[in-house]
């Protein structure tokens, strides 16, 4: 019974906590500029994230360790240092952009300027982590995140042409803006395989005390949860294709993106977008912040655990406090949140080899995982993932410069 509940919670959390400003911005631009032609990038990214998340969960369930502690212990600090530094940077950038998303949503709803929301929202998010337990964070992210299903409903209300949608699931050449097309493809994948997702998932599995018997629950959560989450991105892409493409709106700003639901929901569309954006980013910001604190604490062997009083966990609490302060500072510099989001998503893709390869090495450690180590199929997929991630990495840096 407990496992069924865990499975359900895991799926709902994945659906609710998966979609964030990165997915929103990349999907909206992709749909607006290239209609359904980039759905294959979404499919590819989804496949990769299901795979990474399943492995992260399986590893945690079988060894009782989350990824950061395991990499330092089994591969050594010198191997871990590079990925660790990269992870810290990516996490801080992501915290900043999610914060930006929440503030932008509040600006849409209230008219009060974006910058005035930065510090209050930062404090609110900090309080949520400071005062609540891990379960409370997980449940709230899960429940409120469900509102993002509005994007799926919105897409369906437009009755998109099934044939064209299906065609989009296969890679195709764009007939305009080639550099931008490939930049968006890379960014879509980057938004889906954001490192905080599978790193948080592995620590979350330990917080939830998963053991070997949870291997199948983990599979269910990974496939169904991530699959559903990706469906929300797909819904947004399709809605953007139906609403923006015919009008030539390129979604250069979040203000333009905000109109995506106004056709499907004439009265509520605008507010629905704002609430979905705000809630999705809130869930993500909580997860990314915690993920950074977990990663740091495990790296240095401190006590870690969200549910403990900050007084018992001063170093852990300091890390997440500083992380939120850094996020606020970045947003207060006046950088455009949408541009920063796109850059961060591309960086996620570029850095995938660095943050994933050590983990993939561990997945083959028979000593650690015994019968749960990666089998032949997993390793073939691992090999392809590694190659793909290196290609993405090499390709995305010049695209970042040229295509954005």
């Amino acid at each position: 019974m407990k496992k069924a509940l865990q499975l359900a919670l895991g799926i709902v959390t994945s659906v609710g906590g998966f979609f964030d400003i990165g997915n929103l911005v990349t999907a909206a631009q992709a749909g607006a500029r290239f209609r359904f032609q980039l759905l294959w990038a979404l499919l590819l990214g989804t496949f990769l994230v299901i795979f990474l998340v399943e492995m992260a969960g399986r590893f945690a369930a079988v060894t009782g360790k989350a990824i950061p502690e395991a990499v330092r212990e089994h591969l050594g600090f010198r191997v871990w240092l590079g990925p660790f530094v990269v992870l810290v940077l990516l996490h801080v950038l992501t915290i900043a952009v999610e914060l930006g998303g929440i503030c932008f949503a509040l600006q849409l709803l209230s008219g009060v300027h974006f910058a005035l929301w930065v510090v209050p929202v930062g404090v609110l998010v900090w309080l949520m982590i400071w005062r609540t337990t891990f379960d409370a964070v997980e449940y709230s992210v899960a429940i409120i995140g469900m509102i993002t299903l509005a994007f799926v409903v919105g897409a369906m209300r437009h009755h998109p042409p099934a044939g064209e949608v299906m065609a989009g699931l296969l890679p195709s050449r764009p007939d305009h803006d080639t550099a931008n097309y490939w930049f968006l493809a890379v960014s879509i994948v980057g938004a889906l395989i954001a490192p905080y997702l599978f790193y948080f998932y592995s620590s979350g599995a330990i917080e939830d005390e998963w053991d070997r018997t949870y291997v199948w629950v983990n599979r269910g959560v990974a496939v169904i949860g991530m699959g559903f989450g990706a469906a929300i991105s797909a819904g947004l892409l399709v809605a953007a294709a139906m609403v923006f493409a015919p009008l030539g709106i390129r979604v250069e700003s979040l203000n333009e993106a905000a109109l995506v639901l106004t056709n499907a929901f004439p009265f509520w569309g605008f507010a629905l977008f704002a609430v979905s954006l705000g809630v999705a980013c809130l869930g993500a910001m909580l997860e990314v912040t915690l993920s950074l604190a977990y990663t740091t604490a495990q790296t240095f062997g401190w006590r870690w655990g969200e549910s403990e009083a900050p007084h018992r966990n001063a170093r852990f609490a300091t890390v997440y406090t500083l992380a939120i302060v850094a996020g606020c500072a970045i947003m207060l510099t006046g950088l455009d949140p949408m541009k920063l989001t796109m850059v961060t998503m591309a960086l996620n893709a570029a850095m995938l080899p660095v943050v994933a390869i050590p983990f993939l090495l561990l997945m083959n450690n028979g000593h650690l995982l015994r019968e749960h180590a990666n089998g032949v199929l997993s390793n073939v997929v691992v090999g392809i993932t590694v190659l793909l991630s290196i290609v993405l990495s090499v390709v995305s840096i010049p695209l970042l410069v040229v295509g954005s």
Partner: protein, 122 residues
């Protein structure tokens, strides 16, 4: 016991099960015709930095002198203080709460975390 594999970067826990950091360096004493003896384990930013070379180590020493709240650059735990080497961690017979391993924990609790409302301090 493969020293590098089983000692370095391992999680240390104290006599009460409290996490006490990770083994950042191991000091060995070579012996004639026998495997080297473990003299002590070292914890700290400086021993950790030393693993990247002497120049990184001296940079770390300078940082430590300037900014650190730690009593000394390295915290040495003699091998004789080890209670047991478990599969995933090493238990020592010391108490983390008073040890140099928790210098930063205590400092932050006192000067930052403890000063914020609702930190759970009774």
């Amino acid at each position: 016991m493969l020293l590098i594999r089983d000692l370095l970067d391992r999680q240390l826990i104290d006599r009460d099960g409290e996490p006490m950091g990770r083994v950042d360096a191991v000091v060995l004493e070579p012996r004639e015709g026998a495997p080297p003896r473990v003299v002590e384990m070292q914890l700290g930013f400086v021993p950790l930095a030393r693993r990247f070379g002497p120049r990184v180590a001296s940079w770390a020493e300078r940082l430590h002198r300037r900014w650190s709240v730690r009593r000394s650059a390295r915290y040495s735990i003699p091998w004789s203080d080890v209670l047991e080497v478990h599969e995933h961690h090493i238990q020592v017979r010391l108490s983390a709460a008073e040890s140099p391993a928790h210098d930063w924990e205590r400092w932050l609790r006192r000067h930052v975390i403890g000063r914020l409302p609702g930190s759970g301090k009774a």
